[in-house]
Symmetry: none
């Protein structure tokens, strides 16, 4: 207690509490992510989430206050990985080559599908399950999708101006097809995970999208 090596009791406790807190939150959010993706939000109950994390329902309420807040919290982490970093990946590509940037986006998504499958899927699935209901979750998802949409629409508009992306289709709809193809491919993979090879699938996706949008296919 009086030695310099020892951490004062209070400090140690605080440290332990912080760690414990973070560990519990991590476990709960991880379990929630997995369960929401595989069963859907409504079909997942708090008992499943908490027991998968080795805790009880009460713990979920201690940390999050409601089932919906759990989803919101999971979605916040998803945003970081799925939306924010995708933007960074695009920014890293040459600013004057829209097709390169589109390729960067598609690449990032493909990699993400392998490293963060559940995160990508959650966003897509919740945007469908939460459609009609309004509230914070819906707003949050809508915000994310707007961001994604703007990114792609910007790329395509630039490419059309530069003459490297087909201009016989309006920006908005072309962007919608790109996003839809991405999401659709993830869902297809999700629905029949066993029978599709990830590597081949993402290659097919890339090839089709580029041939379908860029003027000189690569």
């Amino acid at each position: 207690m009086s030695t310099a090596r020892a951490i004062p009791a209070k400090k140690r406790q605080v440290k332990q509490n912080v760690e414990r807190r973070e560990a519990s939150i991590e476990l709960l959010l991880g379990a929630a992510l997995r369960l929401f993706v595989s069963q859907g939000f409504r079909a997942t109950n708090l008992e499943q989430i908490s027991s998968a994390a080795g805790l009880t329902k009460g713990a979920v309420y201690f940390y999050f206050g409601s089932k919906e807040s759990v989803l919101l919290e999971v979605l916040k982490r998803v945003r970081e990985v799925v939306v924010d970093r995708a933007l960074e990946a695009v920014e890293a590509a040459p600013a004057d080559d829209p097709v390169q940037r589109l390729v960067a986006y598609i690449h990032y998504q493909a990699r993400l599908g392998i490293t963060h499958r559940d995160e990508v899927l959650l966003l897509i699935l919740m945007s469908l399950e939460y459609k009609e209901r309004q509230g914070e979750v819906n707003d949050f998802i809508a915000g994310l999708q707007r961001k994604q949409r703007r990114l792609i629409e910007g790329l395509i508009a630039d490419g059309q101006k530069a003459g490297s992306i087909r201009a016989d289709v309006p920006v908005r709809e072309l962007a919608a097809i790109v996003l839809a193809t991405n999401d659709g491919t993830f869902l297809e993979w999700f629905r029949r995970s066993a029978s599709l090879r990830g590597r081949e699938l993402t290659r097919a996706l890339r090839v089709v999208l580029l041939s379908g949008t860029a003027l000189q296919p690569r």
Copy 2:
């Protein structure tokens, strides 16, 4: 039906009952289709379905026996329109021109999206919501999707052999992308119905898919 002469009271009664029966079933299935699409299966309760049809919950049990059977019955009607007729549409195109046949498929889907939006969406949405859960519904959906998949895979294999569809991507994955793009586009349209123009969107879909798959884009 066409005679003006009297039908015996009993017969008339029976006839009326049959008609009434069919009308009630029609109303219930129609309401169920609409509600399942807009809210999801779990989020829709029997009270909503039956009251939307001007009946009571009991009637649903009288006709269908369970909530899941209602879904199954709706799906059976959906199959007819979405899968069986798509096959016919493809058959109507020249057997020796796979690209033509693919175009026929894409066209049919696009038209369907406008005339039978809910039917198309139901199939996609239920395939996601009912994943994981097994049983009759899941089997039925899996069957439908297998049929669709085989149709497209057949077309693509033929086209690759004939040299009119790109062969640098395996059949299975290329077909998956085609289906995924289709479904993804419907979902995207569903999510943001207001901001996308159906006509432009389906044109964009067709153009991208053809440029992305066929060797000589049309």
Copy 3:
């Protein structure tokens, strides 16, 4: 079925349903009244109410839709007995003799305390338990109390004008004392039912109130 004596099956069923419905509602509201009075609203759960009525929780929801609605429904019946009929009792007394009318009111309340103890108490107790919370229940209770207050204030104002009720105390506060004494007496009786004799108590109440308010005590 074809005889005139027999009630057609449908009619009979309807009749039976109506009876069954009314009987169940009666049982549930009766149980609720008793329990709310003896334990309070919050401290009473739906399991207690429904099982006291020989039914299950679900039945409560079938008929009322929420716990609060049960209370509201009970209160509506209470209003009839405690407020509406009290008004009638007062109206039955000579219009030109306010003291007589006040006596009629006090008498009616005293009788009510014996024949409808729980109804009287419910109103008083809920007005306390529901105080801070706002909503339909609170509004309803406030409405009842306003009606009671106006009745007594009217009597007293008339009496003061006629010179038969003391005028050295403002109407509003004198009326408040009359009502408060009434309610307070019921509560006192409720708290220590064993040790007070109803007959003597109500006599004491009448005597004190009259001597305390009227100029020439009777």
Copy 4:
């Protein structure tokens, strides 16, 4: 305590702890009193109490051990002010004039209603909310009320013997009316605090009670 000279560090610490302890207890009991009165015991949770005192739920358990003990502790303070001092106030009046003593009681209560509104109300409200439930709290409240009752019954019996208080009503019931009127008036004031003037109300109470009980009204 009164010396300006240094207190040893340890002692000072102890002193500070004692003060802090007492301050925390004071804050908690004060918050509890306010909340129990305005919302009721059941409707108040420990989170509300502790956070209103700037502490956490754990602190409540540290000091009191249970929610019920908090109430008990609050009630003990209430007894002092509401019962013990009322007795002293009565004792201060001439022993040979029961009406004077009754007046002293009523006066004390009226003053109390203004200076210690919540304390007075708590006792009344808890005696209603805790009815039926048995245990320490109930016993404690019953004891307090017995004491009050005996005080008033004694006064009235003396007055009846001395001929200054009406004898046409039995002691027990007359005392009950006096107490009931007192409590009822507080509750009425509590229910509609906005619309009653405290000064006028207590005057009305005094006047009515005296005219209603004493033989020669003052």
